[in-house]
């Protein structure tokens, strides 16, 4: 017989944190390997294919960067929300709302305005859309004590259905010949890409700039200080007279607004028109939750973890095609990795010893 003991780790270091993450990812990949075996696929081949498909070729890498853009920008915003203990599960809906707002501005004003006016305008509209959609659960939480996990999650579906309503109803484009979807945005509102790729660089630059600004905000400003105090100990926040309502509103405006900007990038940079919500986003708002956690709630680290998960998305697509695996494979890979990262946290915080005998 043996006994397993769990005790608090008395000391922790940054290196251990990093190593724990690496070990968790490795363990997660092993678990995914077992799933591949169950599907009758050689796991080493499949996993190497995932990384070759995403980082191993020029084409794959470009795709990875393209998909990393929304993940970095949403993940960065989520780090702020999570740090203040606001569990925003609604980034998907906030992204879609950003897409709706920017499409509206782009279609209505785009034809009459030059590019250097309309592009900032659609980004502003997208930010506003995401921010407004993010403010709803913040107000519900502070004024009526409604759990934000539920409200943010449910608002995702409301927004997705609203968007579907728009594209099959009032916003259905004449150029679509009866198929759902708006008309294409005018040329001036479409974001430039790095040639030979789909990387809409304006959004990429915005993503990185936002990450840097957020890091400064969190660690250097008064507002960031208040967010950290609330996140560490809400009672101390009350004692210090921090205004929870104001802080939550700002946090959710930023978090939702950044998701909205990701929505702008997807519409104006990739699709060029508004179509079904599932094609506009493919779950970036949910994947970004993992991105934020893997980044240990540091917006700068979100750049790295965003790239990593974008790689998994792209690699997952690659093996779907080349190995004939089902479309849900990517979700399984993502989910498994998240579970292992969370388990890794347990091993980071606790010391496990096994005693044999007795």
């Amino acid at each position: 017989m043996f006994r397993i003991k769990v005790s608090d780790r008395e000391t922790t270091t940054g290196l251990r944190s990093f190593m724990t993450n690496i070990a968790s990812l490795a363990a997660g990949l092993c678990a995914i390997g077992i799933i591949f075996v169950a599907c009758g696929v050689n796991p080493f081949y499949a996993i190497s294919k995932i990384f070759m498909g995403s980082f191993g070729s020029m084409y794959g890498f470009k795709e990875t960067v393209t998909k990393a853009i929304p993940l970095i920008i949403i993940g960065g915003g989520l780090t702020l929300a999570f740090r203040s203990r606001f569990w925003n599960i609604g980034a998907e809906g906030q992204l879609l709302m950003g897409a709706i707002f920017s499409t509206w501005v782009g279609l209505a004003w785009g034809p009459h305005l030059p590019s250097w006016v309309i592009v900032p305008l659609i980004f502003a509209a997208g930010f506003l859309g995401g921010a407004l959609w993010g403010l709803i659960p913040a107000i519900l939480k502070i004024r009526f004590s409604i759990n934000e996990v539920i409200s943010t999650l449910m608002l995702n579906y409301i927004c997705a259905e609203f968007m579907t309503l728009l594209i099959v109803g009032p916003w259905k484009g004449r150029s679509r010949f009866g198929f759902p979807g708006t008309d294409n945005l005018p040329e001036s509102a479409i974001l430039g890409v790095i040639s030979g790729s789909r990387i809409h660089y304006v959004t990429l630059i915005l993503a990185i700039v936002f990450a840097v600004i957020l890091a400064v905000v969190v660690y250097k400003t008064r507002f960031g200080y208040e967010v950290r105090v609330i996140g560490e100990n809400p009672d101390a926040g009350r004692y210090a007279g921090i205004n929870f309502f104001k802080t939550s509103l700002i946090v959710m405006a930023i978090s939702g607004g950044m998701a909205g900007i990701a929505g702008v990038g997807e519409v104006a940079g990739i699709h060029h028109y508004l179509t079904y919500p599932a094609s506009i986003s493919s779950g970036y708002g949910f994947t970004a939750i993992i991105v934020a956690w893997l980044a240990k709630l540091n917006p700068l680290y979100a750049i790295v973890s965003g790239l990593f998960f974008a790689g998994i998305l792209v690699g997952g697509d690659a093996i779907q095609i080349s190995l004939g695996l089902p479309a849900a494979t990517v979700q399984i890979v993502n989910g498994t990795l998240l579970v292992f990262l969370i388990m890794g946290d347990f091993f980071f915080k606790n010391k496990i010893t096994i005693q044999w005998g007795r």
Partner: protein, 504 residues
């Protein structure tokens, strides 16, 4: 049959991140003996007992039970060897009943119908030690003293022959302390041994047979209490003579700083616990509120400092109406606050010491320019606080949760008092502090008073109230049953007033 007749710790050493907490400690307890473990905050008492309870592993040294070496690698090991511990902060689940909590911690709890099947046993145990309690009550309905008894039963039921109590009296009322001491004496008569961690000299003299004094992680002395007196114990503990009488000179009362006018405040359960109360606190004055815990003192303090809503009435600080203002605006009006539950309210535990040194002051001009915090100023401020308020830490770059309770209290005191606020509200400021720190803190309060500050002091320590306060109010069931000047002879009856059986 007692499992432990004699327990010895030999040459125990333990350090955290290179900082020694215990150095070569020797300690012996025998059956039927109560040992007091005395020392200042952060002296390493709790660390040593956590080693004995299997929570920490010593870096070197051995533990011997009945002259045989044992390895205690987890609390379960310790329980098997007959060691039980009641922590300073109780490890009970608030929404569960007494019986459920005991069943959870009891090793022989049957899998099916645990509550019904251990009920008789619990009741019998309670009877043996003269505990009066209803095992179906929920923990949150119990007073601190009753919760402590649940913890003691939990330990005894698991066969604890050696019971470790970590600062057992710090949350108790005087009456409850007496009850606890009765229980301990009963246990002693039945052959149990007890180790009490404390820094209250009176308790050591009252209840302990022997005392071991720890200073900065090493044993500096061990003696039978019969051969010691309070003064020599205190000297042993802090290594120097202690002034037991802080000097409070006569000062003329100044203008009113705090005016409380007919306020009513509701408690957590929605009933009014502060009823239509009015008083003033003046410059050059320490106004003490004494009373048994749970008579509305906490709620009164929270209402004045802006944490709790005021239903009716007004509060003013220096002529500004601060009724139901945010704590920060009240701070700006001139009120500083040393909160009662310092770890819960006073700090953000995961942030660094220097972050916590400006909590509630981070909006002041000297710490932030426009949007940005001035970290160089903040770090200087934190260093100055650590220096002048003797916070023992090896750096200001540590997470605040790694400081000991007493050092956290010193940090909060420094933070709240260093800005020289016109009004200081201090709730149990010396609670949990050792003699040296208590003396120092009281001096600081008197200095503020001399400088013209007004101080509203909540305390259950009558000695402290009598020594420091110019006026003493006794609170009972949400009202002042008497407000007396410090020289008033009727103060002799303060005990009756606290019990609600006398009114002035």
């Amino acid at each position: 049959m007692r499992k432990i007749k004699k327990l010895e710790m030999r040459g125990i050493s333990k350090s955290f991140q290179g900082n020694p907490a215990n150095r070569d400690i020797n300690l012996t307890v025998k059956s039927g003996e109560i040992l007091g473990l005395l020392g200042e905050n952060g002296a390493g008492k709790t660390t040593l007992m956590n080693i004995l309870y299997g929570l920490y592993q010593p870096d070197s040294g051995q533990i011997r039970i009945n002259d045989e070496e044992v390895k205690l690698t987890s609390p379960l090991d310790s329980i098997h060897h007959g060691i039980g511990m009641v922590h300073q902060h109780f490890m009970l689940i608030q929404n569960h009943s007494v019986l459920e909590n005991i069943a959870l911690g009891y090793e022989k709890t049957p899998f099916f119908f645990p509550k019904i099947r251990i009920r008789d046993k619990v009741v019998a145990f309670a009877k043996r030690f003269n505990f009066a309690m209803d095992p179906t009550m929920k923990i949150w309905q119990l007073s601190a003293g009753e919760q402590q008894r649940v913890e003691i039963i939990k330990a005894l039921l698991n066969g604890a022959d050696l019971l470790i109590l970590d600062e057992p009296t710090s949350v108790l009322t005087p009456q409850e302390i007496e009850d606890l001491f009765h229980i301990l004496k009963d246990m002693k008569a039945q052959g149990h041994m007890v180790i009490i961690i404390t820094h209250k000299l009176d308790e050591i003299m009252d209840i302990c047979d022997r005392v071991t004094v720890i200073q900065k992680g090493t044993v500096v002395g061990s003696a039978d209490t019969a051969t010691m007196d309070k003064r020599s114990l205190a000297r042993m503990m802090i290594g120097r003579e202690v002034l037991f009488n802080a000097e409070r000179e006569q000062l003329a009362q100044g203008a009113a700083v705090l005016t409380v006018d007919g306020i009513t405040v509701k408690g957590d359960k929605g009933t009014p616990v502060v009823k239509n109360m009015s008083f003033e606190v003046h410059e050059n004055e320490i106004f003490g509120v004494a009373g048994v815990a749970g008579n509305g003192q906490r709620e009164l303090g929270e209402a004045i400092t802006g944490i709790r809503a005021i239903e009716t009435g007004r509060v003013g600080v220096k002529g500004v109406d601060t009724t139901n203002m945010s704590p920060r605006r009240i701070y700006d009006a001139g009120l500083s606050h040393i909160p009662e539950e310092r770890i819960r309210f006073g700090i953000a535990p995961g942030l660094f010491l220097y972050d916590n040194s400006i909590l509630k002051q981070h909006h002041l001009k000297k710490f932030s320019k426009k949007l940005f915090l001035e970290y160089s100023q903040i770090r200087d401020h934190a260093k100055a606080l650590v220096e002048s308020y003797r916070v023992s830490t090896h750096s200001i770059d540590v997470q605040t949760k790694n400081l000991s309770g007493g050092n956290i209290q010193k940090l909060i005191l420094g933070r709240e008092i260093s800005e020289k606020p016109p009004l200081l509200v201090a709730s149990h400021p010396t609670y949990g502090l050792d003699v040296g720190a208590t003396e120092y803190l009281r001096e600081e309060l008197l200095t503020r008073r001399r400088e013209g500050g007004a101080i509203l002091l909540f305390s259950e320590d009558l000695e402290e109230v009598m020594k420091l306060c110019d006026r003493i109010a006794v609170m009972f069931e949400g009202e002042f049953v008497g407000v007396l000047d410090s020289g008033d002879p009727r103060l002799a009856d303060i005990g009756l007033m606290m019990a609600g059986s006398m009114r002035i």
